[in-house]
C-alpha cells in the first residue's frame, strides 16, 4: 500500500465515513420533518439534547456512547413532551412553544457544561456545537493491504467508537424508514385519517422523533449538534425542490446529503492546503456551506420548481398570450373584411410580429400582415373560446353583455377542453358568430 493511501486511511477515512453516515442519516430522517413542516423540531432537539449529554457525562464520567444516547434520548423526549405541554395546556403558539422549551434546555446545558465539575474534562460547549471531526482518526491502521481482509483488524485496532455508533444509527434509520414507509407516509400526510383508521400516529411519529434525537447525538462528535440542523433540513429541502414522489424524495435527500458530506469534507480538509493555505478549514462548517450552496443552486436551477424554470414558464406563457392576442386581432379584422392589416402600428404596440411570423402563424405582404392557414386555425379556437365565455358569463353568471369582454379576454387563453364552456347557440351575446370547434365537440363527461 502506498504511503499516500495509508495516510488517507489512517487520517481521513474514519472521519470521512463518519461525516457521510451522520449526514445521510439526517438527510433521510429530515425529509419527514420538512414535509410535516416541523423542520424546527430538528433545531429544537439538537439544542435541547445538550443538558442530557452533560448529565450523562457527569454521571458516567466518560464519553461512552450508551450513557450519552440514554441521556440525549431522555432530553429529547422531555423536549417534545414539554413543547406539547406548553402548546396544549399553556395555549402558546407552536413555534414560540418550541422556542421557549429548547432555549431553556439549551441554556441549562450550557450552564452545566461550564460548571466546575466539568471544567477540566474534555467536553466543552464548542465541541458539541461544531464537532471535532479532526479527532476521528484511526491511529493504528495497518500498513499491509491484506490486513484489511481480516476481521481482527477491525476488532483489535483503535477505530473510534463514534464510527460504530454512527453506522448503527444509519442502519437503524434506514431500516426504520424502509419497514414503516407506509405508516410514516400516512401519519405524516394525514394524521387524523390515520388515527381514525386505528393507526397509532403518535407511536410512529414518536419513534421518528426518537430516531432524530439518536441521530443528533451520534452526529454531535462528527459534525456538531447545531450543524446537524443543516443536515436535517438542507438536503431534504433540496430534494423537495426536485421531486414530487415520497420515495424519490427520501432517496434523493440521502444522496444529496452524502455528496455534500464528501464534497464538504474535501473542501474543508484538503482544498485549503492544496491551494497553499496554512490551515485547513472547519470540516463540519464546510459541509454545511456546501449543503447551503447546493440548496441555493437547486432553488435556481431545479427543472420543475426552480426560479429559472418558473421564470421561463412565465415568459413562455406571456409570449403565448401576446401571440394569441395578435392572432385574435387579425382574425377580427379579417371578419370585418380587412384580411391584411398594416404592420407598423402593431410593431409600435409591441406585438410579437416577428415571433409569430417565425412560427408560421402570420405572413407579411407589402408591409401588411395576415393570418396563415395554421394561424387562422389557432385564431378560430381562440375566438371560439372567447365568444363561448362571453355567452357563458351573460347566461350563467348574469353579467351584462358590455361587461364580459375583459373577463373573456383572460379566459380565452385557457385551452384545456374541460375548462371551456359548452356551446348553447351559434352567436355570442354581441351577435357575432362563434367559430366551430375542432370536431363536433361533444362535452366530455
Amino acid at each position: 500500500m502506498s504511503e499516500a493511501w495509508h495516510h488517507f486511511i489512517a487520517g481521513d477515512l474514519v472521519a470521512l465515513l463518519s461525516c457521510t453516515l451522520a449526514v445521510v442519516t439526517c438527510g433521510v430522517l429530515g425529509s419527514y420533518l420538512v414535509l410535516k413542516r416541523e423542520s424546527l423540531m430538528g433545531d429544537a432537539i439538537s439544542h435541547a439534547v445538550l443538558p442530557g449529554l452533560v448529565v450523562a457525562f457527569m454521571i458516567s464520567q466518560s464519553r461512552a456512547p450508551v450513557p450519552m444516547f440514554i441521556g440525549a434520548g431522555i432530553a429529547a423526549g422531555l423536549t417534545v413532551l414539554l413543547t406539547m405541554l406548553v402548546r396544549r395546556w399553556g395555549g402558546v403558539e407552536p413555534g414560540a412553544a418550541m422556542g421557549v422549551v429548547f432555549s431553556v434546555m439549551f441554556a441549562l446545558g450550557v450552564y452545566l457544561i461550564e460548571s466546575e465539575a466539568l471544567r477540566d474534562i474534555d467536553l466543552d460547549a464548542s465541541c458539541v456545537l461544531y464537532g471535532q471531526v479532526e479527532y476521528l482518526v484511526w491511529w493504528d491502521a495497518p500498513k499491509d493491504p491484506s490486513a484489511y481482509l481480516k476481521l481482527a483488524t477491525y476488532t483489535d485496532t483503535d477505530i473510534p467508537p463514534a464510527l460504530w455508533a454512527l453506522g448503527a444509527i444509519f442502519v437503524i434509520a434506514v431500516a426504520f424508514v424502509a419497514a414503516f414507509f407506509k405508516e410514516l407516509r400516512i401519519t405524516t400526510f394525514d394524521p387524523q385519517m390515520a388515527r381514525a383508521a386505528g393507526i397509532p400516529a403518535w407511536l410512529v411519529q414518536g419513534a421518528l422523533v426518537l430516531l432524530v434525537a439518536l441521530a443528533v447525538v451520534a452526529s454531535f462528535q462528527a459534525i456538531g449538534s447545531i450543524l446537524v440542523i443543516a443536515m436535517l433540513i438542507c438536503p431534504a429541502a433540496t430534494a423537495r425542490m426536485l421531486t414530487d414522489r415520497l420515495g424519490t424524495q427520501i432517496m434523493l435527500a440521502g444522496l444529496v446529503a452524502g455528496l455534500c458530506a464528501i464534497a464538504g469534507y474535501f473542501a474543508g480538509a484538503k482544498l485549503p492546503t492544496a491551494l497553499g493555505a496554512e490551515h485547513a478549514l472547519n470540516i463540519a462548517g464546510m459541509i454545511t456551506v456546501v449543503a447551503g450552496l447546493v440548496f441555493g443552486l437547486v432553488c435556481f436551477a431545479s427543472p420543475s420548481h426552480g426560479f429559472i424554470a418558473r421564470a421561463v414558464r412565465q415568459r413562455r406563457l406571456a409570449e403565448r398570450i401576446a401571440i394569441e392576442d395578435l392572432l385574435g386581432l387579425l382574425y377580427r379584422s379579417a371578419e370585418a373584411g380587412e384580411t391584411f392589416v398594416p404592420i407598423q402600428p402593431m410593431h409600435a404596440a409591441g406585438m410579437p410580429v416577428a415571433r409569430a411570423t417565425k412560427l408560421g402563424l402570420v405572413r407579411a405582404e407589402a408591409s401588411k400582415l395576415g393570418l396563415t392557414d395554421s394561424g387562422r386555425e389557432r385564431a378560430e379556437g381562440l375566438i371560439r373560446r372567447h365568444r363561448l365565455w362571453e355567452g357563458y358569463l351573460v347566461e350563467r353568471a348574469g353579467l351584462r353583455p358590455d361587461h364580459v369582454h375583459a373577463t373573456a379576454e383572460l379566459l380565452e387563453h385557457v385551452d384545456q377542453p374541460a375548462a371551456i364552456p359548452t356551446q348553447s347557440g351559434d352567436l355570442d351575446p354581441h351577435g357575432k358568430a362563434i367559430p366551430p370547434g375542432p370536431e363536433t365537440d361533444a362535452e366530455s363527461p
Binding site: 407506509k182 405524516t188 400526510f189 387524523q192 385519517m193 381514525a196 383508521a197 414530487d244
Partner: protein, 274 residues
C-alpha cells in the same frame, strides 16, 4: 308536574345502555366542551342502517366536532358512542373517514394512487408492502370516482373537485360499512358533486351507511334521505322531509330567513320522500 311535592324517587344504578345491534351508530348523551363552553350538549341519536344521512346546522353548531368525537379524535366530556352496539375500538375496521379537504397539505409528495392506497393500509398490516392486489383495488376505487387517468398525478396538481374525489376513493378503498364525511361537497365543481352523490347512492344501495356534514340546505332534500339538524343540541333527527321543516330550520338557523325560504321551497318541491 309532581316535582313540587316532596317525594322520594329511586332509580337503578346499574344502567345498561340499550343495545341496538343493528344500528351502525348510536350516540347517547354525547357532550363535548371547550373550557366552560359546551360545543355539543347532550346529543342523542341513532342512525338506521343503510341510510344516507346529512348533519346540517349553522356555522359553529358543532357538526365537524360531532364526527370527530364519534371517531375518538377529540375527547368527549360525557356520553357514549356505539357502533353496531360495540365500542369504537372493536368497530374501527368497519369505519371509513373522509376529513375536510383543508386538513391536509396538498403539496405533499404523493400521487392520487398513493393516497387511495392509504385506505388499504389497515388491511395490508404492519411491515408489509402494498401488494399488487391492493394496488389494483385502489385503482378500481379511483376508476369508480372517474379519476383513473389521473392516478399518477401529484395530488397538489389536481383541482379541488378532483382532490375531493381522491379522498372519496380512499374511503372506498377502506371497504368500510359506515362512512363519515366532513363536508364532501365543499368547494367542488358541479360535475364532482354529481359524481360524489352518485357514488354515495351506490354505497347506500350496497347496504352501507354514510354520514355527511353538509352545508348546503338547498340540496339536503334531494341528496339525503335522513337528516340530523344540529345546533349544539339535536334540533331534529329523522327522515329528511320530516326533519327539515320550516319550524325546525328556524330553530337551528335563527332568523336568517331568506336562506330558509329557499330551503323551504326546495323541500316543498321535493314532495314525499321515497
Amino acid at each position: 308536574m309532581n316535582a313540587t311535592t316532596p317525594q322520594l324517587t329511586t332509580s337503578a344504578l346499574t344502567a345498561h345502555p340499550e343495545h341496538s345491534a343493528e344500528s351502525p351508530l348510536s350516540v347517547h348523551a354525547l357532550t363535548v366542551a371547550y373550557h366552560r363552553k359546551p360545543v355539543l350538549w347532550d346529543v342523542d341519536f341513532d342512525v338506521p342502517p343503510a341510510s344516507l344521512m346529512a348533519i346540517v346546522g349553522p356555522n359553529g353548531a358543532g357538526k365537524s366536532t360531532l364526527i370527530k368525537a364519534c371517531l375518538g379524535l377529540i375527547p368527549a366530556a360525557a356520553g357514549e358512542v356505539e357502533f353496531w352496539g360495540e365500542p369504537l375500538r372493536r368497530a374501527r375496521s368497519r369505519i371509513g373517514y373522509v376529513p375536510q379537504r383543508e386538513s391536509v397539505d396538498w403539496d405533499f409528495p404523493v400521487s392520487a394512487l398513493d393516497v387511495v392506497c392509504m385506505g388499504r393500509y389497515r388491511k395490508v398490516g404492519w411491515l408489509r408492502r402494498v401488494s399488487k392486489t391492493h394496488k389494483a383495488a385502489a385503482m378500481a376505487c379511483l376508476e369508480r370516482v372517474g379519476m383513473k387517468e389521473l392516478s399518477h398525478r401529484q395530488i397538489g396538481k389536481l383541482s379541488g373537485g378532483q382532490q375531493q374525489r381522491v379522498f372519496l376513493a380512499r374511503a372506498l378503498a377502506q371497504e368500510a360499512e359506515l362512512y363519515f364525511m366532513d363536508e364532501p361537497f365543499a368547494g367542488v365543481d358541479a360535475a364532482t358533486e354529481r359524481a360524489i352523490i352518485g357514488v354515495l347512492r351506490d354505497l347506500q344501495r350496497e347496504g352501507k351507511t354514510i354520514i355527511c356534514v353538509h352545508h348546503d340546505l338547498q340540496t339536503v332534500g334531494s341528496y339525503f334521505d335522513y337528516a340530523l339538524l344540529l345546533n349544539m343540541r339535536v334540533v331534529a333527527v329523522g327522515p329528511t322531509s320530516q326533519t327539515l321543516t320550516q319550524e325546525n330550520l328556524v330553530k337551528s338557523y335563527g332568523g336568517r330567513l331568506t336562506l330558509l325560504e329557499q330551503a323551504g321551497e326546495a323541500i316543498a318541491q321535493m314532495g314525499p320522500t321515497r
